[in-house]
Symmetry: C2
Subunit: 103 residues, 2 copies
Amino acid sequence: MTDFCNEIEKFGKGIGSASRYRLVENLFKGEKTVSELVKITGLSQPAVSQHLKTLKSANIVFNEKRGQEIFYSINIKYILGILKNLSEKVQKQKFHNNKSRRR
Amino acid sequence: MTDFCNEIEKFGKGIGSASRYRLVENLFKGEKTVSELVKITGLSQPAVSQHLKTLKSANIVFNEKRGQEIFYSINIKYILGILKNLSEKVQKQKFHNNKSRRR
DNA sequence: TAACCTTATAAGAATATGCTTATATTTAAA
DNA sequence: TTTAAATATAAGCATATTCTTATAAGGTTA
């Protein structure tokens, strides 16, 4: 399995859960602390913390500690990179498929 | 939960498994029958069939029956659409994040 | 330093996922 | 018209995921 395949899998797993995608959608509006995300989503604090860990390990988000709070943000560059790579793969496929094998 | 959120979740689940992404990668090279995918991936026939069902319900692939064979193909337009929508969301976020709340 | 916030981690329970084997269904071929 | 081939579906098992509750670990503040 290629590196990119592994990245895609993690990325897919990251956004492939309703709870996690909801966190991501909220982070789209700007950085947030864990407890803010708890309030917004209604999920428990440990649940949020665990999902953020998953998202971080997929490079979808990153965090920064300020005092006792931890601010989470969307990793824009990384996500755009993944999406671009995927789009390119699909575009190439478009070409392949034009010369279809058989009917 | 929005419609788009639901689509993203399905899309993520679709590509968020190593076996399924492997199927997708192979379909990038052109349409394939179930049994071809079985040979290529080494997965069992029912496993492939089940994964294809998941991918189809996420609109990642579609199929066409010819004789007793069923050809599966990548749903290029749909995938490009999803990726474009996601990219746009991230781009907008970029703007939001520039005016960060606090330091 | 003691009490308090904020977050992370651990452990466990409930549910979902990804396979397996067995079987049904549809179409082609002998 | 039986036999074979291709695919889908069903049922069940093993593992993974997603929560929960309880607790720990860092920082703050009184």
